[in-house]
C-alpha cells in the first residue's frame, strides 16, 4: 500500500519536475542567445528572446534582469522597472541585479523630474 502511494506520488511529481527542468533549459537557451545578439547590438532580437525566456520560465530572475536592460535600452521605463522588480523579488540576494536596478533608478528619477517640468 505504502509503495503504491509513493509510486503514485513520484509519478505525479517527477513529470512536473522534468517539465520545469526542460522549461528552464529552453529558457536558458533563449537567454544565452539573447546575450549573444545583444552583444552585437541587436537589442530588439535580444528583447524578443528574453521575453520568450520569461514566458517559458517566469521564475528565471536572470532572464527578467536581461529583459529589464533591453526595455531600458528601448526607453520603456515602466516595463523596465517592472522587470527589474520581478527579478529582485525572485532573487533578492543578487547584487548584480540590484546594481543594475540602482543605475536604472538614477536615470528614471531624473527623467521623472524632467517630465515634471515647470
Amino acid at each position: 500500500m505504502f509503495f503504491r502511494a509513493v509510486t503514485l506520488g513520484l509519478m505525479l511529481v517527477l513529470p512536473a519536475a522534468a517539465a520545469a527542468a526542460a522549461d528552464r533549459g529552453a529558457a536558458k537557451q533563449q537567454v544565452e542567445f539573447g546575450i549573444k545578439v545583444a552583444q552585437t547590438g541587436l537589442w530588439r532580437e535580444a528583447q524578443y528572446r528574453w521575453e520568450r525566456a520569461v514566458d517559458l520560465d517566469p521564475t528565471y530572475a536572470e532572464a527578467w534582469n536581461n529583459l529589464a536592460i533591453a526595455y531600458e535600452h528601448a526607453g520603456k521605463f515602466d516595463e523596465a522597472r517592472n522587470a527589474y522588480e520581478t527579478a529582485i523579488k525572485l532573487d533578492p540576494k543578487n547584487t548584480m541585479i540590484r546594481q543594475n536596478y540602482d543605475l536604472f533608478k538614477e536615470i528614471n528619477d531624473r527623467t521623472q523630474k524632467r517630465r515634471g517640468g515647470r
Binding site: 531600458e72 535600452h73 531624473r110
Partner: protein, 312 residues
C-alpha cells in the same frame, strides 16, 4: 618533468573554463534614451527670437545667447534654424508695458506696429516686429563692487536683488520680472510666428551678473608622509573669490498660436580666485556650456551612456 607540465595544463584549462564556459555575467554598454521634455513633432522650423537680458554690461546676453543657441541647434537638432534679425525683446517689452494702460488690453497688448495682428492673413506684412524708439539709455553705470572680506558672504556685484535699478537697465531678477508679461502676449508671438511660417519660437530671459564671495573653501594638497609616500590631504583655506552667475529662463512658444508650450529655468555660477582675470565673455560661454545639454534635452532625445550586467 611531465608533472609541472600537467599542472600548467590543468591550470590553463581551469582558467579557460572560467573565462569561457563558466562566465555567468557580461558587462554591456547601453544607451538609455531620454525623451524630450516637449513634443516638437508639429514643427519643422525653429526660431530663436531673442532674449530679455540683463546684468553685466560686458556681455550682450541677448545677442550672444541667440547666436550660441542657433549654432547649437544647427548641429544638434533636426529642426531647421531660421536666420532672422535678433529681436530687441527688452525694448519691445518696455513698449508693451507703456502701451498696455492706454490700450486697456492688459498683457495681450502688442507694440504699436503689431497691434493690428488680429487682422489675420489679409494684413500687409509690414515690419516683422515693432522697432520702437529705444528707451533713453543712461550712461553705463559703474559696477559697484561689494565689500569683500566677509566670511562666507556671497553678493552680486550688481545692485542687490529687490533694489530696482533707476537707469532703466535690467540689473537683477526683480527688474526682469517686469518684462515677463511679454511671454504671455499671444497676439505678439502669433504675429512673429506668422512672419516666419509658424515655427517653434525660443525666447526667454538671461541674467548674467558678477559675483564676489569670501570664506573658507576646501582644497586638497599633496604631501609626503613620514614613510615617504605621497598622500592627498584636504585642508580649509580662507579665500576671496569672484566670478559670474547666469540665471536663464528658456520659453518655448508655439508660433501657430502664440501660446507658451514649455519653460525651464536654470542657474549656474562659476568662481575664480580674486587674483585671476577671467573675461566675462569666456565665463559666459563656460556657464552656457553647462546649460546647453539641458536646453537641447527639451527639444530632442538625449542618450545617456552607461553599462549594465547581463546574466545567464
Amino acid at each position: 618533468m611531465t608533472g609541472p607540465r600537467n599542472a600548467a595544463a590543468v591550470a590553463s584549462l581551469v582558467l579557460l573554463c572560467a573565462a569561457v564556459g563558466c562566465t555567468n555575467f557580461y558587462e554591456i554598454p547601453i544607451e538609455t534614451p531620454i525623451q524630450p521634455k516637449m513634443d516638437v513633432t508639429p514643427f519643422t522650423r525653429i526660431l530663436v527670437a531673442g532674449f530679455i537680458s540683463g546684468g553685466s554690461d560686458d556681455v550682450d546676453g541677448n545677442l550672444e545667447t541667440v547666436r550660441l543657441l542657433r549654432s547649437q541647434l544647427r548641429s544638434k537638432s533636426t529642426l531647421r534654424v531660421i536666420e532672422a534679425e535678433v529681436l530687441p525683446l527688452a525694448e519691445l517689452a518696455r513698449d508693451q508695458i507703456k502701451a498696455a494702460p492706454s490700450t486697456g488690453a492688459g498683457s495681450t497688448a502688442t507694440p504699436a506696429s503689431t497691434e493690428t495682428t488680429g487682422g489675420g492673413p489679409g494684413q500687409p506684412a509690414g515690419e516683422p516686429v515693432a522697432q520702437p524708439p529705444a528707451a533713453p539709455q543712461a550712461p553705463p553705470p559703474q559696477t559697484s563692487q561689494p565689500p569683500v572680506g566677509e566670511p562666507a558672504a556671497q553678493q552680486p556685484a550688481t545692485p542687490a536683488a529687490g533694489q530696482e535699478s533707476t537707469d532703466g537697465k535690467i540689473r537683477n531678477e526683480k527688474d526682469l520680472e517686469r518684462y515677463h508679461a511679454i511671454f504671455d502676449n499671444t497676439a505678439f508671438w502669433k504675429k512673429v510666428g506668422e512672419e516666419h511660417q509658424n515655427p517653434l519660437i525660443v525666447t526667454g530671459t538671461v541674467l548674467f551678473t558678477n559675483t564676489q564671495t569670501s570664506g573658507f573653501v576646501n582644497q586638497n594638497r599633496e604631501i609626503i608622509d613620514p614613510l615617504g609616500r605621497r598622500v592627498v590631504q584636504p585642508y580649509r583655506v580662507y579665500m576671496e573669490r569672484k566670478g559670474f552667475i547666469i540665471e536663464s529662463r528658456f520659453v518655448f512658444i508655439d508660433g501657430r498660436t502664440g501660446t507658451v508650450l514649455f519653460s525651464d529655468r536654470f542657474h549656474e555660477e562659476v568662481l575664480y580666485p580674486a587674483q585671476q582675470q577671467t573675461p566675462a565673455l569666456s565665463s559666459y560661454f563656460e556657464l552656457m556650456d553647462r546649460l546647453i545639454p539641458s536646453f537641447l534635452g527639451s527639444l530632442s532625445t538625449q542618450r545617456i551612456r552607461g553599462t549594465r550586467v547581463l546574466l545567464k
